[in-house]
Structure formats: C-alpha cells, structure tokens
Symmetry: C2
Subunit: 484 residues, 2 copies
C-alpha cells in the first residue's frame, strides 16, 4: 500500500467516529477499535488487548500494586482451575457463580473424573490455601493479592465493560476478628477511590451495597460507583467482608491469643480492566480518547513542525531527552504530515501535544496544546520541565472537575416513585431517594424504572424521611441508577 493510501485510510478512520451524543454505544466501540485499545477475536465475548490498551492496564496495575504493597499486601498466584467439589463448599457462593462458569471436562484425550471450572473468582482456592498455612494468631493477618484473568460466561458482552474473560486483581485476606476484616474492606475501598480519583481523574461515590446487590457469600459489600458521560453508572470496584462464613465452610481455624481455636474472618476485593471502560466513558469526546495524565502511556507527544528544516529534529530530540526526566514523553518524527499526526494523537488521547518548529526554535519556545480543552499556550524552553509538570497536574485537576460537574449535573432527587419515573423519562443519571430497607421496594423500583440501587453512600444527607416507593419511614438514602 503506498504511503498516500495508508494516510488516507487512517484519516478516514479518524473522521468516521460516531458522534458521542448521537449514539453513545457506537461511539464507545469506535474508540475502542480506532484508538487501537482492543480488537475482537473469534472467541465470542473475548477481546485481544492491543499494546495501547494493555499499556493502560499496566499503568493502572503499577499504580495500584504500589499502593497495595505499601499497605502490606503480598502477591501470589493460584491455579486457574477449581474442582467442582471445591466450588460447592460455600452454598451462597456456588449459587451465585455456578450458572456462569466455563467447565473443563477433558485433559488431553482423557475425560476428567471431576469437572474443573475456570475460576470466575478465587475465594475457594484462597480458602484451601489458608486452611493449610494458617495455624496461629501469629500467622495473621494474611493480606494476599493476585493479578490474573477470570472467566464468567456472560450472555451479552462489550469490550472492557463485560467480557467472558477479563483481567483483574483479586485480594483475599484473613484476619483474627470480623472487625479487622470489615476494616480491611473499608480501607481497600478508600485505596480504590484514591486510585480512581487521582490516577484516573474519575470521581466516585463510596458506599455499601444493599443485600440484594451483595457479592455471593458476603456479609457486606462495599462499592465505588462512577457516573459516565451518558449518565449511566459504572460499578468501578467492590470490596467484601465475609465474616467467618467461608472459614466455617473450609475449616480455616487458628489458635488465638487465649489459646482457643477460632475461625478466621475474611475479606476479598477487586478491580478490573473495566476501569479502562470507565476512563473512555468519563473523559472521551468526539475526537477520541482523552487520557488522564496518571495512566497515559505517553503524556507528552512532541510533534516537530517543518521537521526537514535544519536543526528542528535535533532540537526536538533534545527537548524529548529533557522531558524524559519528568514525564513519559515521545517524539513523532515519522514522515506523516503534522495534521495527520495531530489527529492520530488526539484519537489516542495523549494529554499534551508539544508543537515545535523553526520559529519556536528561534524564539526559544514551544507550544503546548491540551487534549482535554484544546487550549494552547506558548512557553519558554528554559522553563519547559516546570511548565509541562504543572500543566499535567492542571489537566488532571480539570478533567476531574469536569467529570464531577457532569456527575453533579446528572444527580437528581426524587421523593415519590412518580417523580423518580418522570426524572428518568427525560434524563439518565443518579437518583438520590430514600428507602425503607425492604427488598420488595427495591425490586419494584427496578421493575418500574430499570434503575437499581447503586449504593448506600458513606457521605450524603437524607433527602426526606419516607421511602420513595412505599412511603413508610425511610432507613437509608440510596443512590439509584441505570448501570453498565
């Protein structure tokens, strides 16, 4: 293919993104494929993460892994297979997961005597390990984490948001008391929330799930809920306190400080590549991806202007080497036109484009163009490192603020079911409404509005004193919403 064909082809690609406000779902999958984040495969519901998409995951992983190690967590790796009998040991858990697992029934040419499922989550395997290595209170707490992929046999799938196989981390901890397991679940939720708000510039609501929405086998489930640009909620991470339910089913006992045999208490928690879907839908626009600086594989892309002019490329390379000490920078010195480069790097959401040509060289300056707002500023080369560092921080703060404004603008209050339904006829967003605590009301709201309870928030005041559904005295303020 000749160069001009290739360019033309790519420019067509750039132009053919669906408008975000016309068809949000189509716009989303356009970005996934055109920013080269992921590709479809011949396996239903499974995608291939391409280098740019995987680099986002690596950066999320690096950020979170450091936070987890700093708080005393250790990484392990457990098998991907779970024997059917092991999965069945905890009753609620197997009921929750058995309908959506993949079953291995043969190894080589031999049928297996017992089916193995591909892990949908690894509570049962961690329990088996813990039962073998925990003996005394001196062995506690165990704060283990695992980076791996899991499989859930979903009917409808969408890249990053819901796929048959996805990458995640799953933490599984064991403690002396239920209070400690509870504290761990809350502590990790705070870590997840910091990850989202700082590295991803994505505001989240922290809260507790209702019993109906709880994880299979958990006593309490906590969640962080983000609001996407289209007003739908995204459950971005969850943490669970199991009490001693699993420990009893798996016989995980220890000798306590008073020399008595006791069951441990446990927690588990996870975030996944779903966060990448969250980034796309929180920040993306009609020109493509918009990446928060915290996880952008390239934070600054240098684009030389009139790069054939003497000294331009050399000076641009020097700028790259200088900036490499303060950020993730790259130089696009390919023979494509600057215009083509602009579109490509815009599509890929690179936070800052640095333009540098002969006149800039003469004036000892460079132009910094923000991806998120399009704003351009000219800066003196002698202050380049400081200017870039400051601008990256500014971009994060303003992306966060913009997302927070969207979330607030799309958060409504309802005091009756009629009001609730009326709001959702014209809008999509969070509904704050009071709830009596009865699951019948939760079910009815879902039936009438398609909105589910997202969480009982940690922060947020009562918006009334009667249940939005039945009018009886309310127990909780709840965030409701349609969710991915």
């Amino acid at each position: 293919m000749a160069k001009s064909d290739k360019n033309e082809k790519n420019e067509r690609n750039v132009e053919s993104i669906t408008n975000r406000d016309v068809d949000f779902a189509k716009w989303y999958t356009d970005i996934v494929t055109k920013a080269e984040l992921a590709d479809y495969t011949s396996i239903r519901g499974c995608v291939a993460l391409r280098p740019y998409g995987y680099a986002l995951w690596e950066n999320i992983q690096k950020n979170l892994d450091q936070r987890l190690k700093e708080t005393g967590h250790e990484n392990v790796y457990l098998p991907m297979f779970i024997p059917e009998s092991l999965l069945q040991k905890e009753k609620d858990h197997v009921e929750g997961f058995a309908p959506e697992v993949a079953w291995v029934t043969a190894g080589g040419s031999e049928p297996l005597t017992e089916r193995l499922c591909v892990r949908p989550t690894s509570e049962t395997l961690f329990c088996e390990l813990y039962a073998g290595i925990i003996h005394s209170y001196r062995d506690l707490p165990k704060l283990y984490n695992q980076w791996c992929s899991v499989v859930r046999w979903e009917k409808t799938t969408r890249p990053f948001l819901r796929t048959l196989e996805f990458l995640w981390q799953e933490g599984h901890t064991a403690h002396e008391t239920e209070d400690e397991a509870e504290a761990e679940a809350v502590r990790i939720l705070e870590i997840y929330s910091q990850l989202c708000e700082s590295a991803l510039a994505m505001p989240v609501i922290k809260g507790q799930k209702t019993e109906k929405e709880r994880f299979a086998g958990a006593k309490t489930t906590y969640t962080i809920e983000a609001l996407m640009h289209d007003g739908k909620a995204l459950q971005a991470g969850t943490t669970h306190n199991f009490g001693d339910g699993f420990a009893r089913a798996f016989g995980i006992q220890y000798t306590d400080r008073g020399n008595q045999l006791r069951y441990v208490s446990q927690s588990s928690w996870g975030v996944s590549t779903r966060l990448i879907g969250g980034i796309i839908m929180t920040h993306g626009d009609d020109n493509g991806l918009v990446l928060p600086p915290g996880i952008a594989p390239t934070q600054v892309m240098i684009i030389p202007v009139a790069q054939h002019k003497e000294g331009v490329l050399e000076a641009a390379r020097q700028l790259r080497d200088r900036l490499a000490l303060v950020c993730r920078v790259a130089l696009d010195d390919s023979d494509k036109t600057p215009g083509w480069k602009f579109s490509e790097h815009e599509m890929k959401g690179i936070p800052i484009r640095l333009e540098f040509g002969p006149r800039d060289m003469e004036n000892q300056q460079a132009v910094l163009a923000r991806r998120d707002t399009g704003e351009k500023r000219t800066v003196a080369l002698e202050r380049l490192e400081d200017e870039v560092s400051a601008l990256l921080a500014e971009i994060r703060a303003s992306m966060y603020q913009k997302a927070l404004d969207n979330q607030r603008r799309k958060t409504f209050t309802a005091s009756t079911l009629a009001e609730f339904e009326a709001i959702l006829r014209d809008n999509t967003g969070f509904i704050q409404a009071m709830w009596c605590g009865d699951q019948a009301c939760e079910d009815l709201i879902k039936e009438k509005t398609a909105a589910t309870s997202r969480c009982l928030p940690f922060e947020g005041e009562a918006v009334g004193d009667r249940c939005v559904c039945c009018g009886r005295p309310a127990k909780h303020m709840v965030y409701w919403g349609k969710a991915y």
Copy 2:
C-alpha cells in the same frame, strides 16, 4: 500456639531438609515447601505460588520486561481460549499440542457448539490478530509479547519444573523477511542468556535444537541449556523461527515495498517459572535456597543482636534506611532468637545477613555474612553502602563461577557409544559428542542412554570427526544429557 512451640516447630522444619546429595528430588521439593515458595493444591499438577515464590517471578519479570521494552517489544493480552478449529489451522502445531490440552466443553449450563482449549501457547491467536491488523510493510515488524499462564496436560509434574498450569511470557513477532524472523529468534536467545547469566547467575549453553527436538511448527528452534547441581540439564528458554509457515496457514499477508503481496515471517519465544526451578537446583544447598542477588526479594537482612539493649534497634533501623537507597533490605526485629532468624533467612536464601549488636554499635561496624559461602566480614559503618554493593556484585560473580565450575566438571566427551554409556553409568552431566545428523542415531542414543540431544551449540569445537553412534562422518558437535 505458644511462642516456644512455634519456634520449635519451625526449627524442626529447618532441620528436616533432606540432604542434597542423598536424594536430590526430595531435597528439591523440601526447599519448595520449606522456603515457602509454593504449596500443593487439590488440583492435580497445579501449585499455588506463595508470596516468596511469586516475588521471585515478579523480579524475573521486571528484569526481562525491561530488556524487552528496551528492544522495542510491546505487551498485549490475548484470550486464554482457542477454538478447536483455530488450533487446527497449522498441521504440525496441532499434532504437537492437541494431545496435551484441556478442553472447555460447557459455558454456564449450556454445552458449547465448538470445544475451546485452554491455550497451551498462543501462536494461533497471535496469527488471527496479525491477519487482521497487518496490511503493509509499514505495519512491520510487530514485536508483541504477553505475560500469562498456559496449560499443558502433563502426566507427571513437579513444582516449577513441570506443572499443568504455569506462568510464562510468550513473544510473537511478525517480520517482512525470514532473515529478520531468524535474527529476532537469535537476538531474543541472547537476551534470555543475559537474563540467566546476570540476574540469575546461571550459566547457559546457547545452541540450536535438532529437528527431532524442534517446537511444533517451527523451522528452527534455539535453546539455552543450563546444567543443574545434579548434572541434569534444564532447558531454560527457547526461541523459534517459523518462516512463513503459520502466515500461509492463517493468511497473514502484506504489501511489500515493491507493491507485491507477500506472507510475513514469524518468530515466537518464551521463558517460564521453570527458571525458578533452575535457580533452586543451580544454587541451593543443604541449608536451603541460595538466591542470586539480582532477583532476591530481600538482598540484605539485618538481624539485631541483643536488640533489647538500648539504642540497638534504633541504630539498626537507621542502617536499614541507609541501605534502602542502594539495595532491597529488610530488618528482622521480631522477638524470635537470632539463631532462629539465622536459620529462617538461610532457608530463604537471602544473599547477605547483616549482624549488628551493642559491640558493633560501639565500634561503628557491622558484620556481613554471605549466604553462598558462609564467609563473614566486619565492615566500618561509614563505608556500609559501598561494602554492601560491592559484596552483592561479588556474590553474583562467585555464584556464577561456582555454577560454571560445576557445569565444566560435569561436561564429558565421548567418541563412541560405549564410551558414552560408560560415562553415564558413573556420572550425570553434559556429554559432548559428534553426530552425523541422522535422526536414527539420535533415537538410538536416547534408547541406549536416556540422554537426549540438548543442542548444537553456537560455540564449542569439534571433539572428533565421526558420529558417536554410527561412525559415519560427523556434521555437528552436540551437547547431550538427561534433562528435566
């Protein structure tokens, strides 16, 4: 459990390691479990990697990942499932792998219309991806790599060396010409060799596999072969040049510089958690693991002596903070006795033990004890960082030299089959012997001696001019050996 019980129990564990020269296999599994690298699970042939074992893998991964990124490779993640029809597209490949794959036949409660295998390796998936994204010579080369786990349904297994599921990286590249694919296979072998020799202090022989030992579907396979303490060989990593075989089977074509449609040429390559088995069997001794500094999770363990004495712990913490700037250091300030700590950290193979007590404090000195030789030296605190850095380098060099000496001592030369058999009656090691190139001889040698051809080495002179087996003119000098 009271403190004394706990200590006693652990000391018993330390004492109960099998002697390395009495029963090497038992000694090996003792180290795996007692150094807390891995645990058995209820899934046949699958182990759980515990924090200490996984930390070794993380360090290997970090080291290699950096080398791969520096040479232009990009990470991706492809599905763990391969549809049966996709696996069957390349004839040699499916014959090689189909007998040892795990089959998924149901998802949720529904039987699948087509069986999926759990990837034993991902050539077929990479080919599918490449067929979709490679169009022009401008899209080449593609240098992709993936960190994941794979499954091979082995009959007999041993932790790290051969397990049903194992962690590895698999590189898959596509090039314009076969020469480039060949050069890539050789370049990666050199990177693997550097990883082993520098980070793992494990000498390797680089060479090419015979046709019989080639990877299923490859035109040439390269290997690095290490010799374990017991004289058995370990295939530590392999790289493959596929030519355009897979490209033809999967239709991966591109428009070349002369505007002609051509097939790409490909390579693939991998190393796995097997390397951890190599580290154990290269360096371990009767007191446990001996870790090369390059990947030791803790390089220096500070053990305070008489830590209840005023100022000792505080000063020890200051030493830790100082050393943290130049190495991976930890302080064991638990209430166990120094003797217990010595045994524990010895078992875990920590390269340097730093002893520090009241007298050292007074004399402004510390004692550094080497794990590999047991040698102790007293160093002045003011020179601590330099002394530790130098000692870590010295340890690596001397561990490497010791392993190289073992390899040389256990490398023999045979010029007849009778000699070959006689050597292996009393020894285990590499046999250097000439070969005519005929597979019948290779088969016969294996039948008579249980030794297989390990490689046709890149370096190494002819040791005769006649085939060790048939006496006809020889074509190659070959390293033979019994292998893990």
